[in-house]
């Protein structure tokens, strides 16, 4: 569960208003897709959810823990995948996973199980003992995803997780997302791929110039007055974010 209440954030001492009075709730068991044009405020919002940025106003809570007031409890139940996979290049993939397992306190048996499984799925098993430095961009992305899955968190927050992944990996990820949420957990991700959002997400939010311009299930989005029946998500998106 993620709750954003009237959250605002600006950069450069108020000159750039990146997020403006955003209120949003993502319920347990839900896959929430976050759409918006470049510079709309998606990354800013995501960074506030995971505590990397402090909102100027409003509050963020994860699983009922206020991110500002009980940061450790909130962090314990959340994992995050950034838009760019900046990870410790000098560690091996396995060392990085061990580090994440240690700091989140993942028990050994669960760790062995999950690491074995994700590495297999992502086809990383043969390179885990090599330094991350030697990985391709997509492989780095996959190791960050594996690390985010490792603690089996209640909440996962991902910034454009499908960018740079090959079709097979992208397909696997989507299956994993579904599985994650079927266990009653929450997943929040941003994307530019309309098709993925349409097929995968339980609910979709569209942000434009820092404001939430639409939010709801596909059906709800389609029934917004201005739009005609039978429109695709792409058409809705283009209409709502025009100007």
């Amino acid at each position: 569960m993620i709750e954003l209440t009237d959250v605002s954030k600006s950069y450069n001492r108020g000159k750039v208003k990146a997020v403006d009075g955003l209120t949003l709730t993502v319920k347990p068991g839900e896959i929430f897709g976050f759409l918006g044009p470049n510079g709309a405020g998606k990354t800013t919002t995501i960074k506030m959810i995971v505590g990397l940025l402090r909102p100027d106003a409003g509050s963020v809570a994860v699983e009922g823990y206020d991110v500002a007031k009980e940061p450790l409890k909130a962090k314990q139940v959340t994992t995050y995948v950034p838009d760019y996979p900046a990870v410790y290049e000098r560690l091996t993939g396995l060392e990085y996973l061990n580090f994440i397992g240690d700091v989140y306190g993942v028990p050994r048996e669960a760790r062995l199980d999950r690491i074995g499984r994700w590495l297999e799925i992502f086809e990383l098993a043969s390179v885990v003992t090599n330094p991350i430095q030697s990985y391709s961009h997509g492989m780095k992305q996959k190791i960050v995803l594996t690390a985010a899955l490792l603690p089996a968190p209640r909440v996962m927050v991902l910034d454009e997780p499908l960018v740079g992944l090959d079709p097979r990996a992208a397909h696997q990820i989507k299956e994993l997302f579904r599985e994650h949420c079927d266990e009653g957990k929450t997943l929040f991700f941003s994307t530019h791929i309309m098709e993925v959002a349409e097929k995968l997400c339980d609910r979709i939010g569209i942000i434009h110039k820092g404001r939430l311009v639409a939010c709801g299930t596909m059906e709800e989005l389609k029934s917004i007055d201005r739009t005609e029946a039978g429109q695709s998500l792409e058409e809705i998106f283009l209409e709502l974010t025009d100007k």
């Binding site: 995971v50 505590g51 990397l52 940025l53 402090r54 500002a68 940061p71 450790l72 409890k73 962090k75 314990q76 959340t78 994992t79 995050y80 950034p82 900046a86 990870v87 410790y88 000098r90 560690l91 396995l94 060392e95 996973l97 061990n98 580090f99 994440i100 397992g101 240690d102 700091v103 989140y104 306190g105 993942v106 028990p107 050994r108 760790r111 062995l112 690491i115 074995g116 098993a125 043969s126 390179v127 885990v128 003992t129 090599n130 330094p131 430095q133 030697s134």
Partner: protein, 575 residues
Amino acid sequence: MSGLGGLNRLSRLATVVRAGLRSNFGLAILKHRLFKEKKDRWLVPVFALAGLGVLPTLYGIVLLIKGAYAILAPMGQERALLTLGVLAGQLLILLFGIYYVISAFYFSRDLEFLIPLPLRPSEVMISKFAVIMINEYLTVAAIVLPVVVTYGVMAKGGIGYWVNAVLVYLALPVIPLALVSLLVVAMMRFINVSRKKDILILVGSIVLIVLALALQIGLGRTAGPQPSAQAVTAFFTSPDSLLNRVGSKFPPSIWATKAVAAGFSSEGPANLALLLGVSLAFFAGIVVMAEKLFYRGLIGLSETTGKKRRLTRDEMSRRVSSGRRAVAAVFGREWKIMNRTPIFLLNGVLVVVIVPVIFVLLANMGSGRGGSGGGGDLSAILKTMTSANPLFAILAAALFMTVCGSLNGTSSSTFSREGAQFWISRVIPVAPREQAAAKFLHSYLVAMLGVVTATVVAAIVLHLKAVHLAAAAGLALVAGVLLTVVGMIIDLARPLLNWTNPQKAIKQNFNVLLATLADIGILTAVFFGAKALIKAKLATTVVLGVVFLALAAAAALSFGILLRFADKRYPEIES
């Protein structure tokens, strides 16, 4: 046509060099921050204060040079001072040059952008060379400037002296740097063929450093039997004999001395021309070499070789850790990343081990047979100085150990080193104070390593009694806590996270400089405190006890501050 082409090429070279300098020193950014945004204004008084803290040390050095001048001048040997200054400077250039050259030529990330540009290898290399030169000017200023300025004032040098001094100073790094570049580029050319590059680069640098030191010792020791009294008299009565002897192994230092000391008259211009000419020739030499070898050592350097191999179930089970405490995990991460990044390793663990060893070699230099030359038996001087009063010996040894252990960039770059990966530390469910504690353990371990090596060195060079040695080490260990924490606090106040070249995080990090100045300030304060206690005629044990307790109290207090500061700062650092 060719004239125009040459002009074009020259202006292109100027652009590359300017871009290199700008990205490395970022003066424009600093200026902007100080005067336009008025952001870091508080730095100005901090620097002024830190500068004041260094003054006593500088004053001591100047007094030492003056003393030496007064002794040497009546014998007509005073020019040897200049030679020594120049030689020491060039040795420093050689040693630091190895770091600088390897990191600038091979480990700066901007190479990835420069190489695809339509530039000649030599142009890229010259731009890097310029950056290193500036670094070297700053590095050797501490040694060469006091000597040249004090000498000039004492000898009442005319305009010729000062003009030539500036020219010589500018030319000083060229020859040693060119030598180092030649060696390094040639070394890389071969290392690049091999698989274990990082290790080889380290081994190679150590070999180069040892070579430089061997050269140094070779300069210090002049072979031959114990000189007779007559020979000594003859030696000292012929002017400049000392100069020629000191500089004999490295003629450029003699040319530099004569050029500066004679100014515009007599042998001055000729020697200046000789120095500049040879420097230019060396410079041309590396340009030619760059065209031939530079890129070949470079291409494929960032490639790491790892065999693709699946782990068996058993191996996997062994390698998956069974749940360390968070502090241990963070400590392990710090340790691995520091030691696997060559630039970090060079400035951390290697420095604390190498510096004390260099000191042994320096102290032994000129002792024994060759020692009669300049009375340069440093080891003997130290022994007489310290045997007078054990308290003095203990404090001096403790100072030495502290400097060896703590005056490196490990603690003052501990947050900066995380760079673009800092987000990981921000999202993991580990309290900032715990992360800071783990980082402290790591930095302090490096400091302890330095103290241990320095203790061994002190035992060899100073021949202290075991009790005294232990007392000194005890002092150094508590002082180490304080200095480590101070370095960490300084870095945490404004960590430099947006680097792409690891060199920036440690070697060119403002915080490291700031912390060094703060450390010198603290040590100076401790020095004056101890001096006051000694003046009060207190017993040795009392003085030591008071210093120890004061340091321990300051260390405990600052550690508490660090933990709180971490809790406050982590959420503020937006990454």
